[in-house]
């Protein structure tokens, strides 16, 4: 027996299933969009984070290099994965990469030798490649790649040693 719509107390099972299916499809589509949006967002945020981290670390790193007096290595015309700088206090500072617990990821560290001993410090992590090149005895070029896979961010810049004349060469 068919009950007139106006007198029905609730929806039928068929209607419920149909409604649920439509709702699920709608919700699925929305969730798909939402998850894609959020994954894109999180990826972008990750890249942005990499950029921001790199920028902060690079600024500090660049400031340290800028205050150097002499580029000991690499010599002009060479490219090396490390750099040796005579810093403003006439100490030798070695910038090099060391492995981290993440495969393929490196951290940039600096070892500064002075009469008080050797001081080591990690400047930043997340490096996948870093080279130091030189086409002048007073400047060093950095080619830095941060991140891994398709989330890499590359930088190329040159840092001039502003205390070069203090080296009295």
């Amino acid at each position: 027996m068919i009950v007139p719509y106006a007198h029905r107390a609730a929806i039928t099972l068929l209607e419920t299933i149909l409604g649920a299916a439509i709702f699920a499809m709608l919700l699925g589509a929305l969730l798909g969009l939402l998850s894609r949006g959020s994954s894109l967002g999180s990826r972008e945020m990750e890249i942005f984070g990499l950029q921001a981290d790199a920028q902060r670390a690079l600024i500090r790193f660049i400031n340290e290099l800028q205050e150097g007096m002499e580029l000991v290595a690499p010599q002009p015309g060479n490219t090396l994965p490390y750099a040796v700088i005579r810093d403003k206090l006439n100490r030798l500072a070695v910038y090099s990469l060391c492995r981290t617990e993440v495969p393929g990821e490196y951290a940039l560290k600096v070892d500064v030798g002075s009469p008080q001993g050797l001081r080591s410090e990690t400047l930043f992590r997340g490096v996948s490649r870093l080279t130091f090149s030189s086409l002048s005895d007073g400047a060093v070029r950095l080619h830095l790649i941060l991140g891994a896979g398709d989330r890499q961010h590359a930088f190329y810049t040159q840092i001039r040693m502003r205390n070069r004349s203090a080296a009295s060469l």
Binding site: A9, I11, L27, G41, R141, Q152, A154, F155, L169
Partner: protein
């Protein structure tokens, strides 16, 4: 409706639509924030590369006296072009990646091509144009060059974006000047015997400088140079600088003595000096100091060249030591080639070519400097900035023999044998 205990399908659909309306703005915000982050990537690259280009300009101005010519006359980067365009002078070589190791060669080593990895991809949107203009500097009105690096790219919406950075660099004269300080002359009455007195006074100052040089060389001969290679080169650098400075001092004195020597070389000078009855010892002394001046000047130039050559031959020194020695040697050799009676610049040209080759792929600014110097060598006679000094030295040498003969002629009896010319 009041009899219903559940939702109708219409209500469910309306609720879903309302929920979707609530979620959509969140989604839009998330997506747009992602695109904003993507927008900042080229901007950040432009900032780093601006720093790179300005540092390159400042470095170039220090290392290459012809750097501004390179920017202006050779049109370096003056045309707007994409960075990844083959042959773009900016970032033409990134790393020393292939043999020979130790030279970053344009065309063979890693450049801004797909092999550069993510850097190539990230710099793809950027184009660069470098503008230069000569301005008068704030300090002492010296000319400076304003270098403006302008990076542009299109953002995700196709909108044109620009990042501009500028710096001022010194515009050097083609050759650093060897300073020739002016020495005050003793007051004179314009007569030839007074000229003789002035010549002796300036000459005495010259002899003091020559003695200073001889004392220093004797001290080094006695004590020897430090044994450590680095300390030895530092000591030699000091000596080269010292010799060049003394050559400059003597050059200045020669310039001042030139009109006096010319005057004493005139035909009537001998007769006039005879009348003045100047004692023979004084005349001997005048002849001696005049000769010492020019000999000391030329001796300092020769010794300075020799010391700089010795520095350049010392192995395993910092690059700047070689560069400074080569630059000093070139500066002195140019002056030397002018003031010697013989002017054979083929050796100087060969030297410049060898320097250009030595610095190619190592210090491109320096290689360009020596290359430009080699190219301008045939025009040196018309462009040499110390031409006045050269003319004075030449005139001094030409007139010295006659002037010394005139001084000797006034001797009554004795032969001091001190009137030999140069």
């Amino acid at each position: 409706m009041s009899l219903r205990s559940g939702f109708s399908i219409t209500e469910l659909l309306v609720a879903a639509a309302v929920s979707a309306l609530g979620i959509l703005p969140v989604l839009v915000v998330l997506l747009s924030s992602g695109s904003s982050i993507r927008q900042t990537a080229p901007y950040q690259q432009a900032i780093f590369l601006s720093e790179y280009s300005l540092e390159e300009a400042r470095l170039g101005a220090v290392e290459d006296a012809h750097f501004v010519d390179r920017l202006v006359a050779e049109g370096y980067g003056a045309t707007r072009s994409p960075l990844i365009q083959p042959g773009h002078p900016f970032l033409d070589v990134l790393e020393d990646s292939v043999q020979p190791i130790g030279r970053m060669e344009v065309g063979s080593d890693l450049s801004l091509q797909p092999q550069a990895g993510p850097l190539f991809k990230q710099l793809q949107p950027l184009a660069l144009k470098i503008d230069t203009s000569i301005v008068t500097g704030a300090e002492a009105g010296l000319p400076e060059t304003r270098v403006v690096a302008q990076f542009d790219w299109r953002d995700l919406r196709g909108k044109s974006m620009v990042h501009t950075a500028a710096t001022l660099v010194m515009t050097w004269s083609p050759v650093k000047r060897i300073e020739t300080p002016a020495v005050p002359l003793p007051p004179g009455d314009g007569s030839k015997d007074q000229t003789f007195v002035q010549l002796t006074a300036i000459g005495e100052q010259g002899v003091m400088v020559v003695n200073q040089v001889n004392d220093e060389l004797a001290r080094i001969r006695k004590s020897g140079l430090p044994t450590g290679a680095y300390s030895k080169v530092l000591a030699l650098t000091d000596l080269a600088t010292f010799l060049e400075a003394r050559a400059a001092e003597l050059g200045g004195l020669v310039q001042q003595m030139r009109p006096l020597v010319e005057e004493l070389a005139t035909p009537g000078a001998g007769a006039y000096l005879r009348k003045a009855a100047i004692p023979v010892e004084k005349r001997k002394r005048a002849a001696f100091v005049a000769r010492s001046m020019i000999q000391g000047f030329l001796g300092c130039l020769t010794s300075a060249m020799s010391v700089n050559r010795e520095i350049a031959c010392e192995p395993n020194m910092p690059a700047s030591m070689y560069l400074n020695a080569h630059t000093r040697l070139l500066r002195i050799a140019k002056l030397d080639s002018f003031v010697r009676p013989w002017q054979d610049r083929s050796a100087l040209l060969a030297y410049l070519r060898s320097l250009e080759e030595a610095y190619r792929g190592r210090m491109p600014n320096v290689a360009h400097y020596f290359s430009a110097e080699a190219k301008s060598l045939p025009m040196l006679d018309t462009s040499y900035p110390l031409i006045r000094l050269v003319q004075d030295v030449r005139a001094f040498r030409q007139n010295l023999t006659t002037a010394l003969l005139n001084i000797r002629r006034i001797e009554s009896v004795g032969h001091d044998g001190g009137a030999g010319g140069l």
